[in-house]
Amino acid sequence: MSVEPFDISTAIVCPLDRANVDTDAIIPKQFLKRIERTGFGPNLFDEWRYLDRGEPGQDCATRPRNPDFVLNDPRYQGASILLTRENFGCGSSREHAPWALLDYGFKVIVAPSFADIFFNNCFKNGILPIVLDETVIDELFSKATRERPLEMRVDLECQRLVLDDGTEIPFEVDPFRKQCLLEGLDDIGLTLRHEAEIRAYERRRREEAPWLFQDLAE
């Protein structure tokens, strides 16, 4: 699949102060039955966000909202940066989780650590997960929870966050993934450029380990 190039200017930061947020919480299973990639946003964090029980096909605009949940706080409406705690995205491999985050409008997630599969799934969908030190995260939480929400600019090219008070925070990102994000590359297309190498590998392996090439369709 090809993704849109990453593009984010200044955005509001939404602070979700929980550790180990799992993908079941990000998008509960009853919404995984859709066969499309879009339309998951209204059910992002469904069980925390609404007071009633979420079912597919509801009109979410009319459902009772949990006023204590951060996504419902008027300060954070329109936020596209999610600030959260360690091990974000643990649990199921469902790519519906990044689809839901993206569909809601989050393009950047900042946390001290992420679960592996989720981290990878983010890049595949044009979301930038940023890992920062626990102490920096604490700092960001205190700024993001004040009266006036924190805004920041994500400068992926130069790998830094620029806060509204002028503070700059550098971050690391894998060069290949950065390039894919910036250019919106189609990684299947990239892999297929190596078609000849894949074929050569297969020929060699077929000799070495023919039992791996049994055709299950036969």
């Binding site: 929980r18 079941d24 039955k33 069980e47 597919p56 199921s92 055709d215 036969e218």
Partner: protein
Amino acid sequence: MAPKTLYEKLWDTHVVRTDPDGTALLYIDRHLLHEVTSPQAFEGLRLAGRRPWRPGANLATADHNVPTRERAAGIPDPVSRLQVETLERNCREFAIPEFGMHDRRQGIVHVIGPEQGLTLPGMTLVCGDSHTSTHGALGALAFGIGTSEVEHVLATQCLIQKRARTLRVQVDGTLAPGVTAKDLILAIIGEMGTAGGTGHAIEFAGEAVRRLSVEGRMTLCNMAIEAGARAGFVAVDETTLDYVRGRAYAPKGELWERAAASWRRLHSDPGARFDREVRLRGDAVEPQVTWGTSPEMVVSVRAAVPDPEAEADPVKAAGMRRALEYMDLTPGTPIQQIAIDKVFIGSCTNSRIEDLREAAAVLRGGRVAASVKQALVVPGSGPVKAQAEAEGLDRVFEQAGFEWREPGCSMCLAMNADRLEPGERCASTSNRNFEGRQGAGGRTHLVSPAMAAAAALAGRFVDVRTLGD
């Protein structure tokens, strides 16, 4: 040659090419698919006008959404039905082999792979499902992927990967009677934490692991993901070969001899270096029960619900408080005083024949406590169900008051009709106790099959080792 870890051997034999920054193209031998994480991948292929690279390297089955009773009548929920039918249509269109809902080999994707010999030692195997690590029990490199990667594997038979760090979890000594692979993996997660294995591939080793059957090793590897690792595996030994020999898709005759000879090399060489090592004593492990909403929130059945006040880390303490509130538990309550409403025996962690035998052995002649509203057994696959019936286990379960169901994921994630109602408390042999996992507001306690059966009889958690005392 420098000594290699098992991970390095598996990795090295599957690298097609490596870029200077270490990004590799890894060849995938086997790809398993199910209905929930595949539709958008097939749609992606269709939009790009691509065909599967090697259709015969894939196998699909429907497991997450399928009803576990009156299956002949089809799927009543239209949304679930559409998803299962979409899988069938996609498999037909792209020539992907499938065990459909009515195939007698159908079952949970991680149960049927090893059972049919679709999973072989030395393979790379992936599936759009985090518990794919299960297949590592056979000495394979197996891990879960997202839907974009499902599409990538379909189209190219490869994945773009970086080498993981290696971690050996060494379990010395032997497990005590009544203590199972499930208790061991819960104890390991309790020790390491749910993020303890992040970025690592775990090799489970040591005497206690060697002595496990392949089915027990699957339980162990299944939950490697709950320790944060992407992959978990066990070296090949004669136990592995005995398990694989004669399976439907396993090599036969002369090819078997060649394969077996190469599989015997699938172990970490003496002196191989791991990035990290964790050691624990197998004989010190007791039956485990989770008390919270993350698998790391686990204690021995003889312990009590822990107190957040005693936790020094404020983020952790806050997480514990939230979990206790969700679980409606008070610190200091002995685990054995926690009463349950439902029991679920099933899931890719514990729905194989050995699991059912262990549970049935506890139940034989007993009755589920009157306070327990429902007790379910959901075998992992058609062949497991048939085998259990041939051994009369279905009768044991039914006489004890359990419902005997058709294979599928069922109440492990409650995408079908089997679920907890808000506030209900369940003794479950599955792998995740997240909020709402088994139904919105439901409260899950993870345990072994024997412990689940014991809890069913007592109506509360009990130490299975003292049952009948």
